[in-house]
Amino acid sequence: MVKGKPLVAVVSAGLSKFGKLEDYVGRELFAQAASEAFERCPNLNPKKDIKALFVGMMSESFEHQSHSAPMLSDWAGLLPAPAIRTEIACASSAAALRTGIFSILSGIYDIVLVGGFEKMTKRTTAETTEILGMAADHPFEQWNGITFPGLFALMATAHMHKYGTTEQQLGLIAVKNHHNGSLNPKAHIQKEVSLETVMASRMVAKPLKLYDCSLISDGASCAVLTKPELAKQYTECPVYIIGSGHGSDTLGLYQRESLTSIKATRNAVKEAYSMANLKSTDIDVAEVHDCFTIAELIAYEDLGFCQPGEGGKFIEKSIPTLEGDLPVNTSGGLKSKGHPVGATGIAQLYEIYLQLTSQAEKRQVEGCKTGLTQNLGGSGASCLVHIFRRG
């Protein structure tokens, strides 16, 4: 494999509205995302051209529905195109993306649809906490009462103890992402929040408060991938994927080497930077997995945007804001755009696709050429990183 060469091209992408979408079940949201992707790409004949679907969904418990992949091929109007579901918790759709890349690089398919969805809001918060908690180790974590906010709170406590990171620094990340989300018409919550509101919000898992947590949302995402040499048949402005990295680690947080850094992210980004022949300073815009504010802060460090322990200063200096040198989560992130878990990885791709094709409107980062997505599964047992370049 030649370093820095395109692996595949993204020729279109689609995203449903994110939010508490009471009128729709999951498959209908996916059909909405697929419609947008097809309408954006008039040269594409979906039924004829798209040969397979790879789709991420975390849990069959939300809608009492497993075996969702062929159902989505049907609802996207793609049958008889075969479909496979990928699952690695909140990184399920980045896994679908990587699987789609494999399928094209293998030569089996020329064009595929990749995507993801989750329909979460009909469940109570307690039920959702329980369902999401299934992605933690059962015998030692779930069985003893841990929750996902709890797992990230354990990392936050450790980071604060080791580096002096503060609750206020975490709060600044929430303020930033809500500002970005206020500019995104598809975001779940399109509202600015003040640092005072964040700091005064109720405790979920000490030291993480309500505004440190991402949203429970409904939503779906998708993208059309093809071979780089076919891209211009479908669009004047393709976006190329030039790096793909994937890391795995122990399911249990307690068994990891570090509580202040996620090794799966470090391994994934190392692979992706190497494939793309780039380094962290080459990235112009990034969407990272801010399931909790501490996860975004640790991502700054693990992705090499700053040194270990410097994440708090990185946000204090406003570097990852829309006006800063390296805007992070211009979409509003999981925090404000929303986190329908199975949709998230390709929803991140969608934002980078908009940015690199100059379609991000009020959130546009001028002149950006290279983008990165980081999608985490669980408390960090899975991480995928993808690097994108404007065509």
Binding site: T125, A126, E127, T129, E130, G133, P139, F140, E141, Q142, W143, N144, G145, I146, T147, P149, G150, A153, L154, M155, A156, T157, A158, H161, R202, M203, V204, A205, K206, P207, L208, G252, L253, Y254, Q255, L259
Partner: protein
């Protein structure tokens, strides 16, 4: 307090067996006799060197808190306990184990707090019918 069970009577190196030991108020790990790696929970083969030559080792129950949280929004089965403290302790041999922390004021928790593993002998009435361990001040 570390002791080794003889090979002829060795119980299987399974998570089910780990919880049977918890019911007997014993915190047990599997030690690889080839490379010395300790496994908590136990595994059928060493993930470091793949050896199946393992032995059960009873662990000292004292440890120090390496990180903690207090959970306010709990899953259904733990809502009656909320808010409750949860942490990861490091035992004297360096092994780490997570669990609920009881009988301590939450304000007094800090990294480095000394805790001891204690046991709830009565297993859960429903699946998976295991007994629980928890942490408390010594």
């Amino acid at each position: 307090m570390e002791g080794t069970i003889h090979e002829s009577e060795t119980p299987p190196f399974t998570i089910e067996q780990f919880f049977k030991f918890i019911k007997e108020k014993k915190l047990m790990a599997a030690k690889c006799r080839q490379c010395g790696t300790m496994h908590l929970p136990p595994r059928p083969a060493c993930s470091n060197c793949y050896s199946k030559e393992l032995s059960w080792t009873q662990l000292e129950t004292r440890g120090k808190l390496v990180t903690y949280t207090v959970i306010y929004i709990a899953p259904e089965q733990f809502q009656k306990n909320a808010p409750y403290a949860y942490g990861i302790i490091e035992l004297e041999n360096g092994l780490r184990i997570p669990g609920m922390i009881k009988n301590i004021e939450h304000e007094k928790l800090k990294v480095g707090t000394e805790l001891e593993v204690d046991f709830e002998v009565e297993p859960s009435p429903n699946w998976p019918q295991w007994s629980r361990y928890f942490f408390r001040p010594p």
